[in-house]
């Protein structure tokens, strides 16, 4: 059977602006992916626990509150701690360009800022999966 791309879409932190997360969840679904949606106010620990149990290929996170520099790298670190090195971690939200190099250095594969078409994110995921079928 064909391999389904599984994506965890998560909102870490306390911000409740989930328009973007929901739109991307639907767009990924419409692109044939299986999206595990966690809802709001997720701790990095919960995100990593869910990512492992759901055996996802991608963890996609969205933050609009400015807490990205703290929370995104924390998720990557926890995944590493658990020995997970084959999951693509991407982020989106209101993220200043200046922060992006630091986030990438911390292991966030790509950062999508406001105005990114969902098709760009979809293509990025398809081309950058760390696990192949």
């Amino acid at each position: 059977m064909e391999r389904k791309i599984r994506v965890l879409v998560a909102k870490p932190g306390l911000d409740g602006h989930d328009r973007g997360a929901k739109v991307i969840a639907r767009a990924l679904r419409d692109a044939g992916m299986e999206v595990i949606y966690t809802g709001l106010r997720q701790t990095p620990e919960q995100i990593v626990g869910a990512a492992i149990q759901e055996d996802v290929d991608v963890v996609a996170m969205s933050i609009l509150s400015g807490a990205h520099n703290h929370l995104f790298p924390r998720v990557v670190d926890l995944l590493k701690e658990k020995g997970v090195d084959d999951v693509l971690v991407i982020g989106g939200g209101v993220i200043p360009d200046d922060d992006i190099p630091g986030l990438k250095a911390a292991g966030i594969a790509e950062v999508f800022t406001p105005g990114t078409p969902t098709s760009v994110t979809i293509d990025y995921i398809k081309q950058n999966l760390k696990r192949k079928a």
Binding site: M1, R29, I36, Y37, E54
Partner: protein, 383 residues
């Protein structure tokens, strides 16, 4: 690619990544899962498998979340298989059950996995069965299967369970109609969730009426089989009936008291209805528990778990657990065999053969029944 069942070994040690990876292999029907599942086989059959089914909007996810918490409080480790539909158009899915349950994601004693139906409900019951076996072998003591809704496909999925909880809820309009009598008959424990909403009492009454009708009509229900066996062991209505605390109403206290004889607990949970039945003149009617819950606040959850556990104890005490598992597995084997035969028939070369036979029938070279016999012969020879 043949390799040693390494994942199985890690799964046995409750390595969440290995368990998760195995389930992914199950989901995509990866042939290399077979040695792993075979290696796990000897460790299966220990978990209590609980099916949660009911119409969309019944609050099944929230209920499952609270059941997990209650079972964890009792020192049990818990696996959850939550099923959501795939889009028939794109094959994608949004699996949202975790929204309600993700607080357990950091609890090592809980493993939650979302499965998409992936467009083939027949295959889903198989994937679910194998997922349950992986979780079982990994040592999760209670395994909850939460279905998409109610319907024949859900019946197929939850019949993998030892104990089936049928969830209903007030305010879905003709909600009782959604729970068709056929589905009703598979329930072991009945639960009216959101019982703080208007109309809960009515739903409880309607469910009882339907259960009574089923019993009076002699319908083959799962619960009446257990009642018969309990009665034969002297745990029947006459031995235990009595207006205990909470009797006479489907209340939060309506389920078994923890210190009651476990096997009789299931009956005790239903005893409330026995009293009600006596008042209505059919005193032999033994009905299963119909419990009221408010999952959001946790009301009635303890009693629901009591009833679920009492049901399991009843099955164990009467020997029905083993019997039911034989039946379930026989059914699953039959389905798997049928699937295999079907996939054999659907293979391309087979289609050509079927067409040739059809042409022969239409050309009066043979008749339908001889052609059928020939096809059956060839399947046997080919397998």
């Amino acid at each position: 690619m043949a390799h040693a069942p390494l994942l199985a070994e890690r799964a046995r040690a409750q390595d969440a990544r290995a368990v998760a990876r195995l389930i992914s292999m199950v989901e995509r029907e990866d042939g290399s899962r077979l040695p792993e599942l075979k290696a796990l086989h000897q460790w299966t059959g220990r978990a209590h498998v609980i099916g949660i089914t009911g119409p969309p909007g019944a609050g099944k996810s929230t209920l499952t979340d609270k059941l997990v918490a209650e079972l964890r409080g009792r020192g049990r480790t818990v696996g959850v298989v939550a099923i959501d539909p795939s889009s028939p158009f794109t094959g994608g899915a949004i699996l949202g059950d975790r929204i309600r349950m993700n607080r357990h994601a950091t609890d090592e004693g809980v493993f939650i996995r979302s499965l998409a139906t992936r467009g083939h409900l027949g295959g889903l019951s198989r994937a679910t069965a194998e997922t349950v076996r992986v979780l079982d072998a990994a040592g999760y003591q209670d395994i909850i299967i939460e279905t998409v809704g109610v319907g024949q496909s859900e019946v197929d999925v939850v019949r993998l369970a030892d104990t089936i909880v049928l969830v209903s809820v007030p305010g879905l309009g003709d909600d009782i109609q959604a729970i068709k009598a056929g589905v009703m008959e598979i329930g072991d424990v009945f639960c009216v969730n959101k019982a703080d909403k208007d109309g809960a009492e009515r739903v409880i009454r309607e469910i009882r009426a339907m259960l009574e009708t089923a019993v009076l009509n002699g319908a083959a229900t799962r619960f009446s089989e257990l009642y018969g066996a309990l009665a034969a062991m002297g745990l029947g209505p006459d031995a235990k009936a009595g207006p205990g605390p909470g009797a006479g109403e489907a209340s939060f206290a309506g389920a078994a008291a923890a210190d009651e004889d476990a096997a009789g607990g299931y009956f005790q949970a239903g005893a409330a209805h026995h009293i009600a039945n006596q008042a209505r003149g059919h005193d032999e009617l033994a009905l299963p528990p119909v419990l009221a819950t408010v999952a959001e606040t946790g009301q009635g959850i303890k009693e629901l778990v009591d009833a679920i556990k009492a049901h399991e104890a009843g099955l164990a005490a009467t020997g029905l657990l083993a019997k039911r598992r034989v039946e379930n597995l026989a059914w699953e084997l039959g389905k798997a065999a049928a699937d295999r035969i079907l996939s054999g028939l659907e293979a391309d070369e087979r289609r050509g053969y079927l067409r040739a036979q059809a042409e022969a029938v239409l050309g009066k070279k043979t008749d339908f029944y001889d052609a059928l016999e020939a096809i059956a012969q060839s399947l046997r020879a080919g397998s």
